[in-house]
Amino acid sequence: MTVHTEIPLLEIEGLCTSYFTRAGEIPAVVDFSLTMQAGESVGLVGESGCGKSTVAMAIMQYLGNNGDIVNGSIRFKGRDLKALSKSELQQVRGSEIAMIYQEPMAALNPSLTISAQLTEVPIVHEGVSQSEATARAVDMLNSVRLPDPERVLAAYPHQLSGGQQQRVVIAMALLGKPSLLLLDEPTTALDVTVEASIVSLIADISREFGTAQLYISHNMGLILETCERVCVMYSGEAVEIGAVQDVFRHPTHPYTQGLFGCIPLPSCDKNARPLVPIRGQLPLPHERPSGCFFGPRCDSFRENLCDQSLIPMMQSDRTRHFVRCVRWRDVPGERQVGEVKRKAPAEIGEEVLRADGLQKYYPVYDRSLAALLSGRSVRYVKANEALSFGARVRETVAIVGESGCGKSTFAKVLMGLETATGGELLFAGDDISNSPVRERSPKQLGSLQIVFQNPNDTLNPSHTIGGQIGRVIRKFGVESEPQKIRDRVYELLDTVKLPRDFYKRRPRQLSGGQKQRIGIARAFAGNPKMVIADEPISALDVSVAAAVTELLMDIQQEHGTTLLFISHDLSVVHYLADRIVVMYLGQIMERGTTEEIFAPPYHPYTEALLSAVPIADLNVRKREIVLEGVVPSALNPPKGCFFATRCPHRIGPICDEEPPPFREASSRHVITCHIPLEELRDVEPVFQQVDVATE
């Protein structure tokens, strides 16, 4: 446990910050108090716009031109940061408090070598010699587990992968020997397996260097893996602060409880225990209700009690556990959900989609003289190689894999935005692998639609919502009379649970979740047989994502549609998919039902992916597998098994030389691996349910 010293490392008391805009003063953080001891790691969670980054910026005294601390104090090692002069602040920033941002590429200067950027820190802050600084940089790169530090030092940022860049940024932050490290979503821009390795590094830092950490994240699972204490924020306020054990086991504030209801934990099930979204929306900073900011969305709201004055933080029964709720004693321990809406599992019908040996190659032309002479002027990126799988009526099939694994390319081929290089793709009996979108009939187009990832990009900002959905209806020949089209648009708006007056609105008047609902309405406008959802919730906040997920599944159920769900997030996939296809470098590594994928026998890559998923559940114990190395280039993949270069279970040269066989564990469960099934079966499961006695 943490050593409690006389003076806390960081003491924030009653912090209020505001941004001053043309529209007036916008309070971003209201009455925020937090005390951190030396070496302690505290997590700061909340949805976007809750003020968590503003807190970090306020600690750095770096709120920009229009931001200011209106009230409260921030004391660092007993000194008031607000009272420091510019040069004193300079000394504190970087050498005592360091910050790590989400985008590593934005933190590194692309025109300087890593060496120049790393050695600068000790040279500027401590005035050491160049050689001493280089020696320290090498040591530090070793401590952040970057292999071959000499090579890294000579490299420019773009020559490193995203994970390596983030390690360099962490090394840079640690070189100043800070006593406080602020991490603002340090892994959000990274792939899951890379994230897992960075997170395990971050978790070790405070042990190794005694550095206190303020870890900002929207992901409860990551907080559980890295922090000792957690602070939950909502609409500019801290609503609950306490030890991770206490908050995760006994969430007390209704908002914290609501958040847990929105996270697809392994114990959730789409039929028996569905997600419970929090109703309503996050209030805008200038429209916050009086009294409790969460009041209008809270099930335990009491008039004349919760809506009176600002609610102070209150100490609960547990030590160092505070809740901003007047009714915390009366709020039921577990969130009460009227009656649990049990849903009947879908009846799976016949096959609608069958991919058979599907290939998609992109040619890359090399126009150099050497390439022309050697006759190798065209090379191919094998974005999809020998994809074979099927999807049935009412089934939800998920394609999972990290960025660059070819899942989006497959979606493009399916939609006809690209044509396949080889193989067959049967949709409702027709081979569509070679028919581009312009050659498809309106009926074919309407029966295969897509929901896009980015809510801000999915709708045309220049046209009204009604116009955009109406156009789809006309195009697919569902209706042709203006009045009927309008009625149908209204029906679709009802289906996605949005008010009808959205018809005349433009996309900029909508929130992210609402835009995504419109995207769903548009996809279902032509009564599709199959809908592809390409990461439809990955850009949304937890509570919004839960609502959109539930909506998507309800409509799918209603329409009897097949859903092809493309995602990198295994916890969501575990929650909603019937069957899963795991892809790596354009190939299918493993496919099977969700239960089969989540239990041995695993493909070694699946095993690593599962272990990388952050789980916000104290009752699940996870086996840690950290993948080394980087994903090979798709231009030049390994000769044998594509995963062989990073595989922790490599059995020998056969993995590098020969393509692995398809091993059928059951009729629809296939693993592409050289390791015999019996051995794969003997592997210990990645997740284990443990029942830690509840105190």
Partner: protein, 295 residues
């Protein structure tokens, strides 16, 4: 008739843009001044027959200084007369009609061509893009002035030909801007959504993509209007503008430049007229940019 209708059309849409919304009024005083100048000239052009004290082409009294009285009749030469005895104020007033008619028309025509080329190049890419970009580069590699002289001397000087020459010289620049914007916008998901519902390429280009490029294009159009005013002045100065004797600001400078030292007002006044109009358009562009940056 057609003159005033078109002039008013463009100006009033600009007016609507800046005056129509009270917010914009308050927000950029630079844009406000620009709009004020343009509105002033627009009113002058529209009311020319009513406010011009004399016939613009009538030879009355040569070399009259500003504020001198008309000896042979009623009235004052507020800005003097030129070497042929024509009232400069009246010629400036009538000359504003030429500029405010041809400048927006030529700009619109250049935009029409430039947008079509740019959208096609950016959306289709490949061979079409290579061909159009090559064409644009060839035209852009010519000195603009040589290009104007070349075009106008080949096809002769008339109002239409001024428009053609300006279109020819400006469309490649506009094409490049549009192409760049389209290259970015074509990767948006809503474009993919339009493709997956089977829309035709021209529908996607003009209805889905183009409206979203309007912000930067409107700012550019205002700046370009200013350049076109200068171009029309230069063409008039070179004798490539409208045939005499109709009043034309550039032509006025050209006709009187040999007497500029003795009678500076004859040359300086049309120069000020041109500059003020250009300044007006540039200030509007600055104002619009300022507003768009803030939101």
């Amino acid at each position: 008739m057609a003159h005033s209708v078109d002039t008013r059309g463009t100006v009033s849409s600009t007016l609507w843009r800046v005056f129509g919304s009270f917010k914009l009024l308050r927000e950029s005083w630079v844009g406000m001044i620009g709009t004020g100048i343009i509105v002033f000239w627009a009113v002058v052009a529209v009311l020319a027959p009513l406010i011009a004290p004399f016939e613009p082409n009538a030879t009355l009294q040569p070399f009259a200084r500003p504020f001198s009285d008309y000896a042979a009749g009623d009235g004052v030469f507020w800005l003097g007369t030129d070497h042929l005895g024509r009232d400069i104020l009246s010629r400036i007033i009538w000359g504003s009609r030429t500029v405010l008619f041809y400048a927006p028309l030529a700009t619109a025509s250049a935009y029409l061509v430039g947008i079509l080329m740019g959208v096609a190049a950016g959306y289709f890419r490949g061979r079409i893009d290579e061909f159009l970009s090559f064409l644009a580069n060839v035209i852009l590699s010519f000195p603009v002035l040589v290009l104007y002289i070349l075009v106008i001397t080949t096809i002769g000087s008339s109002g239409i030909n001024i428009i053609i020459a300006i279109t020819f010289a400006s469309a490649p620049g506009i094409m490049r801007i549009v192409r760049g914007l389209v290259l970015d916008l074509r990767n948006r998901d809503y474009v993919a959504a339009a493709q997956t519902r089977g829309e035709s390429p021209w529908y996607i280009m003009l209805v889905e993509i183009l409206p979203n490029a309007r912000g930067p294009l409107i700012v550019d159009a205002c700046l370009r209007l200013g350049y076109v005013v200068i171009t029309i002045g230069v063409l008039g100065f070179l004798g490539l503008g409208l045939p005499p004797p109709d009043p034309d600001w550039g032509g006025m400078i050209n006709e009187t430049r040999s007497m500029a030292l003795a009678f500076p007002s004859m040359t300086v006044i049309p120069c000020i007229a041109i500059s003020s109009l250009v300044l007006g358009f540039n200030l509007i562009a600055d104002g619009l940019r300022e507003i768009s940056m803030r939101d």
